[in-house]
Symmetry: C2
Subunit: 394 residues, 2 copies
């Protein structure tokens, strides 16, 4: 079989990620490659570290993009902190909390789960109870914005509880970083990781991570080596730090990409960026409700970056999403696990969180809903969303 | 500090990798991103698998690029095959054999080393002796082309020995794939992995891997889960296979890159490509010897893709390489570990293995050698290399 020229459809990416990539990032990625120990690449590494610290709101020295996707960074954070037989409290209210529990278990942790129903936040008091019951627990793992449910977890109180109990706080901020405030140092987070393909609007392939000095101390004082050589932070930090000890060949082009993505983020400014995400989400919500659908995640605990929508009876999940993709080139996400077929996940992330995208999606949905006989009226959703934007400027 | 526009030097990459990237690959990487479950991306995944099977000479169903660099693929191959307490025979004659032994040990293997001096191949009889002494050994791990020494390991006899002993053969072909013949099925290799940034001339960031059905059986029949969730082939194969079960978000842009790189490789044709590498290496060697330097790796066991050169007394390693980089924009590699300061590693890899690059490098070295007073005569190295090319066409 002859493999032809690459020619993917030009999609509007409004699912749970990847999100639309800024053209400047695509351009940076096509820059000529230099060696992984070239002075020019070392400067790129330094730039990435410096900008990541700003975006994560941390002074942690060891802050860099892992050479893998967000799931690789989850693994890197856990495998460095957990030793066989450690007790770890893992908060689970969706797929990514489940994954964290799975990964911690694989590396030998005795996992104490703190559960909450899908669509609801973790109750900080449940974390406190778990730590009271297991005073030797070494860490608490939690997802800031759960990509499977759209729940945004308040972090302050949980950070305070961990501090009092002396447990390390490990946070997944894959779907929050760059779209809502992420305050690593202020919240007392000791290890945090993210992805690039959400609100940083960079293609997937590298993933931000940060370790506090206390977390690094824990990695260095382990009884045995970290199981993973690739993710062993005690080795990797010597390549990213001033020693520049070769570890593995860095993913040069993806480093170019995240560097440019971070420049775009910081040029816009974090506050302005958060406001843009919040407004897009608010407008989207107004439109979705005008369509007769409702929001899935509990009010007051919704991340604007990933909007979960409960389908009303009769709306055919697969058929609508297929039409969106095939007739409108729009991707949105379906539900995972227990909510498969029951919810949609609509990303308003990074470069994609715009008025243009909100109204085009709603307009497309109104056309499809009419075609499929779900509703007689057309226009109320785009109107509702536009009113939100109009109010914001008046 | 303001982070400015990305503007790396335009280097000629003749070190141990990354190698020069074909402009078509850079262009493919800047293509717009689609979702990781988009039909267009699933087709890209299929294309990559199909072309990787051709390049690796294997019919293995589970053949795909790992979402990480070559070292990630090393880890992925070992962590799936090794369980706590397994005995593994690891061949060590350079940095990457050492790394393999380290990784296997981290995942709980009792490592039986088969050593050979740096610059020399592994003696197949030593592998046989190790397997005779440890009949329960589950695998033999070996590096096909050792990036730290330039040694090319003959694989047929070792494959035969493994077959007779019932041990799995696990092969690193990072620096050989695409530059010299790699025959996974014919040699009886059960797990093989490579990198992209060597003779495939793709930026680093993904890494080919292949598992035989026997190797997959071993992964499925483990007593415990694979320690690494990210690299667990029993999960990853369901995303790359027809089930399309979401595992992690694929590195879309890097998938575009390897797809285009493989197209370039197969358009040229493997035989023609191997001949081009061999000729460039032969010409380089003629020039290097005309400079009064000698080859480091044992004759008859040299990979043309990475040429190791022993410095003669008086030649200052660091000073020459700095001049090459700063005055000529050429990167070559220095020695690692015990041969640091004593050898150079000159890559003739993929898109970089050309007459133009050979003569420019030699010409630059002749100028530097004259400047630094190492030699009085200038011109003999480029002449020697050019004669090799002239003979090849006559």
């Amino acid at each position: 079989m002859i493999i032809g020229e690459l020619n993917p459809h030009l999609r509007l990416l409004l699912g749970p990620g990847p999100s639309p990539v800024h053209p400047r990032v695509l351009k940076a990625m096509s820059s000529h490659v230099v060696g992984h120990l070239d002075p020019d690449y070392l400067a790129v590494m330094d730039d990435c570290q410096q900008m990541l610290r700003q975006v994560l709101n941390t002074r942690n020295r060891v802050t860099f993009p892992v050479s893998g996707t967000g799931s690789a960074a989850m693994e890197a954070s856990i495998c460095n902190m957990i030793e066989e037989g450690d007790t770890a409290v893992i908060c689970v209210n969706g797929v990514f909390g489940e994954r964290m529990a799975d990964v911690a278990g694989r590396y030998g942790a005795k996992v104490i789960r703190v559960d909450a129903p899908w669509g609801r936040p973790i109750d900080p008091q449940d974390v406190k109870k778990a730590l009271d019951a297991h005073p030797g627990a070494v860490l608490v793992g939690i997802v800031h914005a759960e990509t499977s449910t759209g729940v945004l977890q308040p972090m302050e109180e949980i950070g305070e509880i961990c501090r009092k109990h002396g447990a390390l706080l490990l946070m997944d901020c894959v779907t929050s970083l760059g779209g809502v405030p992420v305050e690593v140092d202020k919240w007392g987070v000791e290890v945090a990781y993210s992805g690039t393909q959400k609100c940083l609007s960079c293609p997937p392939g590298v993933a931000p991570i940060t370790f506090s000095e206390r977390a690094l101390g824990r990695a260095r004082e382990r009884k045995g080596k970290v199981k993973s050589w690739y993710f062993d932070v005690t080795l990797v930090e010597k390549y990213w730090g001033q020693e520049r000890v070769y570890h593995h060949t860095g993913p040069i082009s993806m480093s170019y990409a995240i560097r440019e993505a971070l420049r775009v983020v910081l040029e816009e400014g974090l506050e302005k960026r958060f406001a843009r995400h919040a407004l897009a989400s608010q407008a989207l919500r107004a439109g979705v409700e005008a369509l007769g659908l409702s929001m899935f995640a509990q009010e007051g605990f919704r991340t604007p970056t990933l909007n979960t929508v409960t389908l009303k009876p009769g709306v055919e999940d697969g058929a609508v999403r297929r039409r969106l993709l095939n007739d409108f080139d729009i991707e949105i996400g379906g539900g995972l696990g227990p909510v498969a077929g029951k919810i949609w996940r609509i990303g308003m992330m990074g470069h994609g969180a715009t008025q243009a995208n909100v109204v085009y999606l709603l307009s497309a949905l109104e056309v499809i809903f009419r075609q499929m006989g779900y509703t007689g009226s057309v226009g109320s959703a785009v109107a509702a969303a536009t009113r939100v934007y109009a109010e914001a400027v008046s």
